[in-house]
């Protein structure tokens, strides 16, 4: 028995090394992210209203991208972000107009309803694979939009809901700055939970499923539960982002908050930055979202043309996204450095 244990040693060593490498990577990420967070906060405090607006849409883009990547990490491609975003927005808006709750209070029902909705959608669609999951989530988002349109007694139907409520804030500040800070706080939560997901034992379940579903299932990983958990966490955050958004934009209607575009841009940011990496979705959103704003000014609604083209080119030429490219460059550099050392010796 002891001999058998010794034989498995190299494997253990490799997995330990892999773990160490991984946790070193996530520590490095956390350090950089800490600095970036402070920089974002300083940006928000010093920028003028126009730049705060761009900052807000970038923060929202980051939240959407990271939460989408959480789902994709478990091997599922979701096209249903709009379902949670729109529902969160409506919960945020209606809890103000019907119950007179402020933004912070409305985050609670938004989070709960986001999870419940994810459980309902997940129960049906989580066992579907690849494109079918994508289509099912897509269909759900569209069905939710029509449902909100039809339930006009509660939601005002196509006329939409107006939310004129300054968000509560401990110190004197413009409502926009308050929204900026709330989005930043939400993003911090999203990023930390994302890091935790990847460090916890769920991480192994996710990776195992991503590599081979059959192998994971035979080693006792519950594919269903693992996917459902990441789907629910992601949905909760997206719904909360939707609630904050409703107070920021002050007017919502079914077409704008259940827009397919919400689901689409999340994917584009994440893929461009690099899927299944900690930094990728953040980098992708931070790079593309401001460019998108500028393009919207130049091209109008057709700015998605550039996004679509960027997505297509990324997939064909750099499937790993920016982070994959970075990894490749560092690998090549360290290889070159290694061969140099050998040569000197």
């Amino acid at each position: 028995m002891a001999a058998a244990a010794k034989h498995s040693d190299p494997v253990t060593k490799i997995s330990q090394a892999w773990m160490q490498n991984r946790s070193r990577k996530s520590n490095l990420f956390l350090a950089i992210w800490g600095i970036a967070s402070v920089a974002i906060l300083v940006y928000g405090l010093t920028a003028n209203p126009y730049y705060i607006r761009i900052g807000i849409s970038t923060l929202l883009a980051m939240i959407l991208a990271v939460t989408w990547d959480m789902v994709s990490y478990s091997g599922q491609l979701s096209l249903g972000h709009a379902a949670f975003f729109g529902t969160g927005a409506y919960v945020g808006a209606l809890s103000f107009t019907k119950l007179n709750w402020n933004l912070l209070l409305s985050l609670i029902p938004a989070a709960i309803i986001g999870i419940v909705l994810a459980l309902i959608i997940g129960r049906i669609s989580i066992r579907l694979q690849g494109a079918y999951f994508a289509i099912a989530t897509f269909a759900f988002a569209e069905a939710m939009r029509v449902l909100v349109l039809l339930a006009s007694g509660l939601t005002n139907g196509p006329l939409g809901v107006t939310v004129l409520d300054a968000p509560p804030f401990p110190v004197q500040a413009s409502p926009q700055l308050a929204i900026f800070v709330y989005f930043l706080l939400l993003l911090e939560a999203v990023v930390l939970v994302n890091v935790w997901l990847r460090k916890s034992r769920w991480n192994f379940a996710f990776r195992a499923i991503g590599e081979s579903e059959v192998a994971a299932a035979t080693s006792g990983v519950s594919i269903r539960n693992t996917r459902l958990i990441s789907f629910c966490i992601s949905a909760m955050f997206v719904a909360m982002a939707g609630a904050i958004y409703s107070h920021y934009i002050t007017y919502i209607d079914p077409t704008s908050v259940y827009s397919v575009q919400t689901s689409v841009v999340a994917i584009i940011y994440a893929v461009f930055g690099g899927v299944n990496t900690l930094a990728g979705p953040l980098v992708g959103a931070a790079m593309l979202s401001p460019i998108g704003e500028a393009l919207r000014v130049a091209l109008g609604p057709a700015s998605l043309l550039v996004y679509g083209a960027a997505l297509l080119l990324t997939i064909i030429f750099i499937p790993g996204g920016i982070m994959g490219l970075l990894d490749m460059v560092t690998a090549r550099l360290s290889k070159r450095a290694g061969s140099k050392q050998l040569g000197e010796r």
């Binding site: 099912a136 759900f140 029509v146 994917i267 584009i268 609604p301 057709a302 064909i316």
Partner: protein, 279 residues
């Protein structure tokens, strides 16, 4: 109900692509949209009847399909990454849709041949002549497709590759060529469907998206990869939609396709006509 003719053309193309390449083309509705614009512009500039310009859209969109297959689909097909395959066709739909938005603006347009508003009543049900015509054109096209798949060498090759790509390659079929043929044919059918749409409903850059969704509903309903299933699925969707708009509202009818998708996937992931072993 007569809309099911157009649905058949769109859904059978989607089925062809899915059958041969095992990918779902998210840009399929956009190909229909391009076909619709081809017919619309030929009508607006040369006053060409959409029924006569149907062969033109058939060819033009087929060629567009060839370009797409060679430049965008082929690289991701080789990479074997499911995620990238879905994303690539999705990106394509974004590109086509927004290129149309940029070129032709968001205005809704409609070709208006003389028979646009004609209609008659039979047994209390009203029929529009354009809808009837589109149905009458779609059926022979579908029959042609069916016979072509059964009889011609290319059709047989497509069916062989759908069943077993590796086995087909072993007996000397060029799988890549079959992929190209399947995609071009599917795109051409989508173009034809576009011509039919140009005079039965309003054309805009976003006209493709709901059609794509309906086509997925049909394909899922009919069982993936089966042309007969696509025809049956189209009929069911057409009937259910018209009943919903008759008894509930047209808004509810627009959502019925999604409800069908969700319901079928929940109960029978293999589709009604397909094998239930698929999950």
């Amino acid at each position: 109900m007569l809309a099911s003719g157009t649905y058949m053309l769109v859904a059978s193309g989607l089925t062809l692509i899915f059958g041969a390449m095992k990918i779902i083309n998210f840009a399929h509705g956009e190909l229909v949209m391009v076909g619709a614009y081809v017919s619309y512009w030929l009508f607006a500039i040369f006053h060409l009847d959409p029924l006569l310009s149907l062969p033109v859209s058939f060819v033009v969109v087929g060629l567009l399909g060839a370009i797409i297959q060679q430049t965008a689909i082929w690289p991701v097909l080789r990479s074997k990454s499911h995620l990238n395959q879905i994303l690539a066709t999705f990106a394509l739909s974004l590109v086509l849709q927004n290129a149309a938005l940029l070129l032709w603006t968001a205005d809704t347009r409609k070709a208006t041949p003389p028979y646009t508003t004609a209609g008659f009543q039979v047994a209390g049900l009203s029929f529009g002549v354009p809808q009837l015509l589109s149905f009458a054109v779609a059926i022979p096209l579908m029959l042609g497709l069916f016979i072509w798949l059964r009889r011609s060498t290319s059709g047989k090759m497509i069916r062989a590759v759908s069943q077993d790509p590796l086995g087909s390659e072993l007996v000397g079929i060029s799988v890549n060529r079959v992929y190209l043929i399947a995609f071009v044919l599917a795109a051409a059918l989508a173009g034809a469907a576009g011509s039919l749409i140009s005079f039965t409903q309003y054309v805009s850059p976003t006209v493709g998206l709901p059609l794509s969704l309906k086509a997925y509903a049909i394909v899922i309903l009919g069982g993936q990869g089966s042309i007969v299933g696509a025809v049956i699925g189209s009929m069911i969707l057409g009937v259910v939609e018209s009943l919903t708009s008759l008894y509930l509202s047209s808004t509810a009818a627009s959502a019925i396709a999604f409800v069908i998708v969700i319901a079928v996937l929940a109960i029978r992931p293999g589709g009604l006509y397909g094998s239930s072993s698929q999950t």
